[in-house]
Amino acid sequence: MEMLDAIQANLLSPAVLFFALGIIAALSKSDLKFPEPLYAGLTIYLLVAIGFKGGVAISDAGLAKVWLPSLAAMALGAIIPLWTYPVLRGVGRLGAVDAAAIAAHYGSVSAVTFIAATNYLKSINQPYEHYATAFLAVMESPAILVGVVLGKLASDRAGGATGASLKTAMHEALFGRSIFLLVGALIVGTLCGQPGMQKVEPFFVTPFQGVLALFLLEMGIVAGRRLGDLKKVGPFLLGFGIVVPLANGALGVWLGKLTGLELGGATLMGVLSASASYIAAPAAIRMSLPEANPTLYLTSSLAITFPFNITLGIPIYLEIARKLYA
């Protein structure tokens, strides 16, 4: 009952409704389209804003509180590909490289899903540790590296076309633009603290939720365009894209509790664990494992898991956390 209310509250938020509007735009073949620089600008804004806010929160809370759950988040990112890879191989009957690529996406994280979750918590007045952004920042890269290594091993065994070296993959995983912006802004925020925040708050904090709503309109268009690919990926990935996030979400919440987070923070750890990357991971994978089929990993992360998480997933992970903390 309570959970249905929670889901309904989420579905009627501007962010989710604009996301739905974007999907309708794509399906109705409207010529509505965000020019690439606008998309890039909104992405930069969201990443810098969330990173900066998180950094200020770290400077408020002190590193002592942050390091343990951050370490757990990194471990989580590395472990997820290790358990999903055999599932994709064994149950899904996917090729080794495709399995590694998809596993990397689900171990990595989606910043927009995280942002939507913080907004949701805020809107229902559920407090959370603001430094949770640190988990987002450290969780993007490890899974990508693990996934690329898995794929390289498989593709070497098969003597397949070799993509860029592991070094390129590491550079992309550590200096790729989304990670660079997030980690960079986090550090800037930590150095500035509250005095810096006061200066930039009216730009980076106050209008943030509105910008997110506008951005989700574009994300809806992008995801909607891929809906046609759902038949190409088959029923296994469709199920995978919903069941695996639920499992990872529960795992993340539990680990959050274990490492001392409050209910809000553990929910966010669950959301991160459940989310799949569609910006950083595709870029790194496309360059390091070019033999992997982009339709498979992009469709599952962008057209299945992302919409699932921002509509139903987020309230569900909160509910799991509530059960665990009850």
Binding site: K33, F34, P35, E36, Y39, A40, A161, G163, A164, E218, V222, R225, Y278, I279, P282, A283, R286, M287, P290, E291, P294, L298
Partner: protein
């Protein structure tokens, strides 16, 4: 004014191939290149070019005929299997052959 025959090689490929293509250009002796973002459609489906994951670029490079030949060969052997791309060659005439 004398013009000198030269080859123009045009490559249309997904943006992720950018670094690999640039590297190949350097290795085959190109002294420069020109590049821009494009939309496209082909065997790998539409590339609407509004987010980076679906971005497409067109690279144009002027080369000596033998360098062009070498570039096409290596594109075919090394990059065609890995990336969504097409490449073609045409004849152009330039004024300062030493530049290319």
């Amino acid at each position: 004014m004398n013009t000198h025959p030269m080859k123009l090689v045009t490559i249309v490929c997904e943006a992720y191939a950018k670094d690999a293509v640039k590297k190949l250009l350097r290795e085959t002796g190109a002294h420069g290149y020109t590049l821009f973002e494009v939309e496209g459609d082909g065997s790998r489906g539409e590339r609407p070019a509004d987010i980076r994951e679906f971005a497409n670029i067109q690279v144009e490079v002027i080369l000596q005929p033998d360098a062009a030949q070498k570039l096409l060969e290596r594109l075919h052997a090394e990059l065609f299997p890995r990336y969504g791309m097409i490449a073609f060659e045409s004849d152009v005439r330039v004024l300062r052959p030493g530049k290319f």
